[in-house]
């Protein structure tokens, strides 16, 4: 199945397009490495998409271009009808590290994006919303705690709140829980699913873990490396809400095996 056909096949039943990537390529000028080649991808409202591939397949580059952190060499990114030419308010981002600032309390960290964009007064007004978000992620009572008193999982919960405070249209997640232990990671993934559902968020996750991608996603973009191209977009038709015990079902196993097969093929190239 070629990339275009796969896209058509997978995108049909979901909402309106939010993100549209057309003929996206990225060549790093310094060493002429082609990181991405002709990426075409549409993310629809409320969908959860993962991108998976071996290291060096360009998935971080893809995420950075989508976030407006670096420009593409060719092609374009349209988000909610407007081309992405820099960081935007309607993009929420989360990284592997929680990166909470130790001189700010949990709630002050969460309103930081508001403080940066709209100033201190607006940040103060957003405090109420920050409290609500902390409640949603199960951190009620930790509002005025400093980050060095939070565990790794708690810190990531707080950074979810910081991502959500600006009410972004899309969530770009760069291996958000890969620094956590496996038990916490599974729990956080379920939490993430719940939050995405409640906020009707469109999410795009970069991950190394096939299981994680399958349990969370509607679609999985499999990238093959050098140069990074879309090998296939795999649709995951497990029912929602997903639960952790789905990970033991034959269907889950079959999808995981299929993706692993695609990735192995990619490695040979």
């Amino acid at each position: 199945m070629n990339a275009a056909a796969a896209q058509e096949f997978s995108g049909a039943p979901l909402g309106t397009p939010v993100y549209e990537l057309t003929h996206l390529s990225k060549t790093y000028a310094r060493n002429l490495v082609v990181a991405l080649e002709d990426i075409n991808l549409t993310l629809r409202k409320g969908s959860f998409t993962s991108v998976i591939g071996s290291s060096g397949c360009g998935k971080s580059t893809l995420l950075k271009i989508m976030a407006g952190l670096i420009p593409p060499t060719k092609g374009r990114v349209i988000l909610q009808g407007l081309p992405v030419t820099g960081p935007r308010r309607d993009i929420g981002m989360m990284f592997q590290q929680a990166t909470l600032f130790p001189w700010k309390t949990a709630v002050e960290n969460i309103v930081l994006p508001i403080e940066i964009r709209d100033g201190k007064a607006a940040a103060k007004q957003a405090m109420g919303k920050a409290h609500e978000l902390l409640d949603i992620v199960g951190l009620k009572g930790f509002e005025n705690v400093y980050p060095n008193e939070l565990s790794g999982g708690m810190a990531q919960r707080a950074s979810i709140c910081r991502m959500l405070i600006t009410e972004p249209a899309v969530l770009l997640l760069d291996e958000p829980f890969s620094a956590l232990d496996e038990l916490s990671r599974d729990m956080m993934n379920m939490e993430l699913q719940r939050i995405c559902h409640e906020q009707d968020a469109t999410a795009f996750l970069v991950t190394h873990s096939i299981q994680e991608a399958v349990i969370l996603s509607d679609e999985i973009v499999v990238l093959k490396p050098r140069p990074g191209r879309i090998a296939e977009i795999v649709k995951v038709d497990l029912p929602r809400p997903r639960t952790l015990d789905m990970m033991t079902t034959p269907k889950f196993g079959a999808i995981v095996d299929y993706i692993r097969g695609l990735l192995d093929k990619g490695e040979e190239m």
Binding site: L69, P87, R89, I91, Q97, T99, F101, P102, Y146
Partner: protein
């Protein structure tokens, strides 16, 4: 289930003290309070000093006895407390230190930001700073005296000159301390360069800035006293110089001890400010200083 029953009694048996085969040992020094350990070192030091002098191993002109030194310290202390001429001299030195440190902080911090934040500063200014920093800065003292005279200005200049560089280095290093994630996060939030500097890079680098300030606080004392040695004036350094030229070693000793109190206060105030300002970095403060 039967497994659990089989195991639990044996677990209970081994839970008693007699079965401990590898006992945790506590080192003696860990059970001694700090004040006691410090007193011990002090007693050994003074004891050695007393024996060296009372055995006549060293001439009393070179090394006075602890008792003589103590007597002189009491004399100097009285002079200071009653507002004698020594208090005036001490006050001059304190002013040199405070002005010198303030100047060093202002210049050092500004240069540090220039070098640490801008590509121009790093490319064009940093090499000169490194070159000047490798020079023996005390050698500039005669120049400062020629330019600024025998008053406190030349001492302030030397003190500031010596203390500036560690503050530049600390500030510049601090501005580079923020990791890639924090930078990327600020970029995604659409932060301006100024916002990134003030709200992220500077607070992140404060521990390094304070490391520079602490080295600078030591340097500023050295600079002020060296300036007084080489450029005259009416400060505490001049008193030391005069006492030394008169071979009044007990006086030299006690003046140095009082001077070190000033240095300690300057250093402690930097540490105190750091604890208030960089409250999230507590453990590091403790390890660095004491």
């Amino acid at each position: 289930m039967s497994d659990v029953h089989n195991h639990s009694p044996s677990l209970k048996d081994s839970d008693t003290a007699e079965d401990t085969v590898w006992e945790q040992k506590i080192h003696f020094i860990d059970s001694v309070p700090r004040w006691l350990a410090m007193t011990f070192v002090f007693v050994v030091f003074v004891g050695t000093w007393q024996s060296v002098t009372s055995l006549g191993l060293v001439s009393p002109i070179i090394l006075p006895t602890p008792m003589e030194t103590l007597k002189d310290m009491i004399f100097v202390g009285q002079n200071l407390l009653t507002g004698g001429y020594m208090l005036g001299a001490l006050w001059i030195t304190i002013k040199e230190v405070i002005y010198g440190f303030a100047l060093a902080i202002a210049i050092g911090f500004s240069l540090g930001v220039l070098v640490g934040e801008t590509a121009f500063g790093e490319k064009a200014v940093m090499p000169y700073l490194v070159a000047i920093d490798t020079m023996p800065k005390v050698a500039f003292a005669p120049l400062f005296v020629a330019w600024l005279g025998f008053g406190i200005e030349s001492k302030v200049a030397l003190a500031a000159f010596i203390a500036t560089f560690p503050i530049v280095v600390g500030t510049a290093a601090g501005l580079h301390a923020a990791d890639e994630n924090a930078r990327m996060l600020f970029k995604t939030m659409g932060a301006s360069r100024m916002q990134t500097l003030i709200k992220m890079k500077l607070p992140t680098g404060l521990p390094q800035v304070f490391t520079g300030l602490k080295i600078g606080a030591v340097g500023v004392m050295a600079g002020a006293i060296t300036g007084e040695f080489l450029g005259g004036g009416k400060g505490f350094g001049e008193l030391i110089r005069v006492a030394a030229s008169q071979l009044n070693t007990p006086r030299v000793f006690s003046l140095i001890l009082y001077l070190s109190l000033v240095g300690l206060v300057v250093f402690a105030s930097v540490v105190w400010t750091q604890r208030k300002l960089v409250f999230w970095h507590k453990e590091q403060v403790g390890r660095d200083d004491f």
